[in-house]
């Protein structure tokens, strides 16, 4: 029997007509989500409100990892300033960020929500009477407790955010993270400044350390709405860029983790290795972060044989040296003493908060868009995510090492597949990619401002180096974008950091923080 409470999408990126998204009443909507939540690997990737002239439209996108689908459903509510709904968070904690965001943006109440706190204090928030200095911190009364406030400006060249600890001696009982300092009004700019070149540059700037990841999510969205059929060559090049970004950031994080435990040797060697990778990206496109490399509908920087052979050469060099140094890092007792058992997030906690990406994969969860909702050159391939179970700093460090090796293998495979005939890589059981015109390297230049499908909703997900990036766009009857949602994985994972430091010494906070390396600007938008 067909369940008509939702519509399923089996492609990523994918689009549907707005009218095809079933509208449920709120009780049915909640009951439907209850039924999904019982299933392993189902999680919410986007839940947001579109304010229409006569009503609020709530759209929910659920990812069903096991059958590689995205389920869309919606409900509608009147434009009532006193509107208050029964909080989904009360039963499914992973909705807490989404409901908090909706509450902050539109003033819609969620009764039964245990933690209805501001996310980022956007400039267009519903309650203009409250500002950055009014964050309602949790507090505990007790003669033996004290609070420690850190930030927004930290002791280093990093982004701003405020951390408030409640400590008993050296022990952290609770950490609350107050963000929003980086808020630039990104989502509004997507709508108010039309033009797909502007939007491409904007997408690259959502989080500059994930320029390729966010640009790819945006490009996928526009490709889908414009009906552009991405050639295999271009799909492969996009993934090569994405994996280069992952390798660079993971190696940079390995260096930073060494810094935070005062292991300078590991730091300098890894910093130098990261430089080789970002300089490889620079050699390809003239920018060390890959800005300008990813565009919808084509590319300005085709991957020539010269560049791809340089990529292969540099990967060989970096891999040998990275394995050598990580071999040392992960066998030093003084390193392991700091990494092992520190900042634990259990599988249960990760699952409850809807953790994604590295935070999930290092805590025993299979959550990787490359596997669950394969995009670009991953489509038709069977990507096996790396997964570790302990959920501590060691796991998050080790996960990076393993993912670096894996990404290098992916890049080599893609370059071979698209440059050398005989070495085409095959995976048993995976559907074969069609390889016509493989030798022709004529991927076109991007053509900006293509006509977009009218009255549609498109969703595009990418596994960036931090985890699941999700962009959603809605068009009106003329094909103009009228609503845009961009989600960085950090949106989910900041809560993982807050949980990780509980019952840890406060001196381990920098190490725990670095082991997640979450994005402030990605959260603040």
């Amino acid at each position: 029997m067909k369940d008509n409470r939702y519509i399923e999408l089996f492609s990523n990126p994918g689009k549907v007509l707005l009218d095809d998204i079933p509208v449920l009443n709120y009780d049915d909507f909640a009951a439907f989500l209850d039924s999904l939540m019982g299933e392993e690997g189902t999680h919410c990737v986007a839940y947001f409100v579109v304010p229409l002239p006569d009503k609020y439209k709530f759209i929910c996108c659920m990812a069903a990892d096991e059958n590689h689908a995205i389920l869309l459903c919606s409900h509608e509510q009147p434009l009532d300033p006193a509107l208050s709904l029964q909080a989904l968070t009360a039963r499914h904690f992973q909705f807490h960020v989404f409901e908090r965001e909706i509450h902050e943006n539109f003033g819609i109440g969620f009764h039964g929500h245990p933690w209805l706190k501001p996310i980022r204090f956007p400039f267009d928030r519903a309650d203009q009477s409250k500002g950055m200095n009014d964050y309602p911190f949790y507090s505990i009364d007790g003669d033996e407790l004290h609070e420690v406030g850190v930030g927004p400006i930290h002791a280093g060249i990093i982004e701003p955010g405020h951390f408030r600890f409640i400590c008993h001696g050296e022990l952290v009982l609770h950490l609350e993270i107050h963000l929003g300092y980086q808020h630039r009004g990104v989502e509004r700019l997507f709508v108010e400044r039309p033009g797909t070149l502007k939007q491409s540059v904007l997408a690259e700037s959502i989080a500059g350390d994930t320029a390729v990841g966010h640009a790819l999510a945006y490009a996928g969205l526009i490709d889908s709405l414009a009906g552009y059929d991405v050639p295999e060559q271009l799909a492969a090049e996009r993934i090569i860029a994405l994996e280069l970004e992952r390798i660079a950031m993971h190696i940079g994080d390995t260096a930073a983790l060494c810094t935070d435990i005062a292991y300078q040797f590991g730091q300098v060697v890894n910093e130098a290795l990261r430089t080789v990778i970002i300089n490889t990206t620079q050699l390809w496109c003239g920018n060390r972060f890959g800005k300008g490399l990813i565009r919808h509908g084509g590319t300005n920087y085709p991957l020539t044989d010269d560049i791809s052979s340089q990529v292969l050469k540099n990967l060989d060099d970096v891999q040998a040296r990275y394995l050598q140094v990580t071999d040392r890092i992960f066998s030093l007792p003084s390193v392991l003493g700091r990494f092992e058992g520190t900042g634990k997030v259990t599988t249960m906690q990760a699952s409850l908060i809807g953790a994604v990406g590295m935070a999930a994969k290092s805590s025993g969860m299979y959550r990787d868009i490359r596997w669950s909702h394969p995009f670009s050159a991953y489509a038709g391939q069977l990507y096996e995510p790396v997964m570790l179970e302990k959920g501590d700093v060691w796991s998050r460090a080790m996960l990076r090492k393993l993912e670096v090796e894996k990404s290098m293998a992916v890049i080599r495979e893609l370059i071979r597949e698209f440059t050398i005939d005989d070495l085409r890589f095959t995976i048993e059981g995976a559907p074969q990619l069609k390889i016509e015109n493989r030798k022709s390297k004529m991927v076109s230049k991007p053509a900006y401002d293509p006509p977009l499908a009218p009255s549609s909703l498109a969703i595009s997900m990418v596994e960036g180096w931090r985890g699941e990036i999700c962009h959603v766009a809605m068009t009106d009857s003329a094909g103009h974008i009228i609503h845009y949602k961009a989600k960085d994985p950090s949106f989910h994972n900041w809560m993982a950091l807050a949980l990780a430091v509980r019952n840890q010494e406060i001196s381990d906070f920098p190490l725990c923080n670095k082991s997640f390396n979450l994005s402030y600007c990605g959260n603040d938008l």
């Binding site: 130098a272 390809w284 972060f289 040998a320 040392r328």
Partner: protein, 261 residues
């Protein structure tokens, strides 16, 4: 066990860039653009409309000639290179990375002029070269920066670029700093913290803007979430363009500002 370290050292080799003043970036690096002197009004107008950040200015030259003076403002440019792709015969981004200046107007590159962006030594405050010539400690504040400029500033001090060789370093406390380096377009939510940090730095102090976002707001310049009043209240000593600025752009800019060789 030290053998392992020795082997790693051996393959690590020497990573530092020997001469930060003379080294070149690969030809594909997007640095200072050059605009042909023969660009027409129609061509200039076409790229002006294409530009995602309104960095391109057009002035018709001599009525009826059809030719124009066209300019690119590196303080606004996001270095996407799309104008070159649209008009490769007339616009070309060179790999010249030395594009920092203490005078905002000098960041504007005009058609027909292929000259390096330079500082105006006359306009450098006297105390900068008196006090900061031999050592300079800086406090960085990210005011809604996207973390790419921040990472490049970190990289300026790493084993490759080793800015510390000149006595230039980033420090943790504003009390220890001689100046502030701002990245990002400056969000409303960050203005108060930025002002407090600037106040905490002892005088005389520098203000340096690193990256296009900081200099003009970049792609965010029209956002209502920004508040750039800090810049109307404080004099800026150095503008370092780039999206993000390359570590070499930053280091060379500072060395020029402080009057180092």
């Amino acid at each position: 066990m030290p053998f392992k370290e020795i082997n790693i050292f051996r393959s690590h080799g020497k990573q530092f860039v020997a001469d930060l003043r003379k080294t070149f970036l690969p030809a594909i690096f997007r640095g200072r653009p050059v605009i042909g002197g023969d660009i027409t009004v129609a061509e200039a107008e076409m790229v002006r409309q294409l530009c995602p950040v309104d960095a391109i200015g057009v002035n018709a030259l001599l009525p009826g000639s059809g030719r124009a003076t066209c300019s690119i403002d590196l303080g606004k440019c996001v270095f996407c290179r799309e104008c070159e792709f649209a008009l490769p015969e007339k616009i070309r981004f060179t790999n010249d990375h030395k594009i920092a200046s203490n005078v905002r107007e000098r960041l504007v590159v005009c058609s027909g002029i292929d000259l390096a962006v330079k500082l105006d030594p006359e306009k450098v405050r006297r105390e900068i070269r008196t006090f900061f010539r031999h050592a300079l400690k800086l406090r960085q504040v990210s005011a809604a920066g996207d973390n790419s400029a921040e990472m490049e500033l970190n990289a300026a001090g790493n084993v490759n670029f080793d800015m510390g060789r000149y006595g230039i370093e980033f420090v943790a406390s504003p009390r220890h700093a001689d100046g502030i380096v701002i990245t990002g377009p400056i969000s409303q939510n960050m203005t108060e913290a930025l002002e407090i940090c600037h106040d905490a730095i002892p005088s005389p102090k520098l203000v340096i803007l690193a990256g296009t976002d900081a200099i003009s707001g970049g792609i965010f310049s029209e956002s209502a979430a920004l508040d750039r009043n800090f810049l109307t209240n404080h004099q800026v000593d150095l503008y370092v363009p780039g999206n993000p600025p390359h570590p070499l752009t930053f280091i060379n800019g500072i060395l020029d500002l402080t009057g180092r060789k």
